[in-house]
Subunit: 369 residues, 2 copies
Amino acid sequence: MTRLASEDDFLAAIDRHFTNAHSHLCVGRGDDCAVIACPPRMAVSTDLFNEHSHFRTSYFRPGDIGHKALAVNISDLAACGARPLGFSLALAAPADLSREFCDEMLAAMAALAREHDMALSGGDLTRGDALSLCLTVWGGPAPRSAHAGIMAGGGPEGGESGATVAAGGSESTGGQSHPATGGSSPFLRRGGCQPGDHLFLVGRVGLARVGLLALESMGPEAARLYPEACRAHLRPRPQVAAGLALAAICGTGDARIALMDVSDGLARDLPRLIGADRGSGLGAELAMDPETLPDEVRAYALANDLDPVDMAFTGGEDYALLGCCRPAMFDAVRAAVPGLIPLGQVSADGVVLVNGDLPASVGFDHFSG
Amino acid sequence: MTRLASEDDFLAAIDRHFTNAHSHLCVGRGDDCAVIACPPRMAVSTDLFNEHSHFRTSYFRPGDIGHKALAVNISDLAACGARPLGFSLALAAPADLSREFCDEMLAAMAALAREHDMALSGGDLTRGDALSLCLTVWGGPAPRSAHAGIMAGGGPEGGESGATVAAGGSESTGGQSHPATGGSSPFLRRGGCQPGDHLFLVGRVGLARVGLLALESMGPEAARLYPEACRAHLRPRPQVAAGLALAAICGTGDARIALMDVSDGLARDLPRLIGADRGSGLGAELAMDPETLPDEVRAYALANDLDPVDMAFTGGEDYALLGCCRPAMFDAVRAAVPGLIPLGQVSADGVVLVNGDLPASVGFDHFSG
């Protein structure tokens, strides 16, 4: 193993894995700033991915770390129906980080970036006791279709899409305005839900939690017993195509769609979608049939005397999309995203019920947990 | 002292210090992504500011940490002649971080953000053994003046400036094209220098290094002996107005201006400006009169048997701007930025000389150092 000796070594590794000539980069890496080509509105998000807090090197391979650090950030763009454009990477790394570790980590990150045609605009490097990755991602609007339901499967691709949104001055709507697509924003948001609205999921929930628990107790061997769950935890797949497809059919008023990604588990994230954490007074009645849960969630629950529905409700880090729309919109939503899972309905009584009962558990707070 | 107990506590602190309704924020904090209003081209940069690597809490007060973490990032925008627009903040914090510490840190960061009318778009929080701040900043083009030399002092302010640059598709020029303002970029860059070009500084160099050395050996008491140097180290002032003024008079061809910020010291950064680290074959002949160096640099050198010119040449973290222009452009450059310091000329021989001699020292590598 060769020790990564200097900043120049690291920059050379970056250049081996990420192209510095990209349609989104007017000026690539190597100057004080990169210069990026922007649509009139961009969605931006920042997520840390840190050793001990978010991963352990005892069962995360370097490629898993590189993949997941970017995937959890892309998931925030997917949750807004944004098309990924670029990202920056800041890395704090122990002095003994090897060149091979760094190469494997960057190769997997670069593979995911290529899949979404994202440019790496630059970043920073410093030493740290533990490995820490801080990514900021940004994305542009999805192309819009004129009619609901015509987008299906893989979602829209290609072309500058900024032309469909107003290019004028920058109005402020603050953080509180409620239409799922704000007046000047072409992206999907949380909130704007009403009693009777349909709730839905894109992607499975509970699997990544099973993967985490199995990996924590068994280490890498867990992948033999729970391959799908371990993969969900180590290599989550952000639901970009579904987010774009939903953004493409989303309108205003009763055609709005509320959307977020489930990073902290349904138990914590559902109240955020429906605004219950901001006093909306809304609740939900969820129908989660244990028979329809992933096989490995049911197997793990059975083997460990746990309730599979509770695992699916509280388990985090699946990076599924959680959405909400008016009943009249639901057929178009289902047509736009094959495989979408109905989850229940919004209620007026401020309580979340799962299969008619109050759930036992709440989710995870990274800071107090 | 009250312990910062949860993510919600931290988010509340953020909201106390940073407005969430801002002309640059179409959708503020609180969703999966923020939505920002963008000019057609933006300059972006990311810098870590980490305990142990970049600061010590033994002599950095919380406000110094908050200020400097943002200042070093804004300096990268200044180095491109960009107008700051917004930033994201990711924080890893020890479990015992107090509410008071957090408030002081954010208050100073917010004061600097207000000074430059920057929006905080969002970020992330997690636990860590040491305090770590990762910021990504972005900015838009400076307004352009038709004639050289009309901008002076405080630099241009206000107004959307994107209208003066092409709003078309996104051309790729890669990272290698050399005009100081790339074909599709309204920002200043490194490189494009020729023998005979004038080199200049905006801001002092050496002071922050004196501050660091004095604080490391004396702790906070150092501020009695070396107040200006300690302030330069703890509270650097990014040269935004000068960067904007230079961008406003910069043209193409012989009207170009190369610019960067001096974060690692002249010894390491000057070769980067003139492309000597990328095989330009250029050198420089610097004239640094010890009599013109800051009093505290000379006093510290005298007291510690050091060479003041060597300290000014190698010392980092001053966040001065280092620039280069054709001789015919230099009068306009001086008129645009009062107080600008001539530094010497670019030479053809690939060697950097300081007052006729080869310098003894090179700068600092955060990773190998």
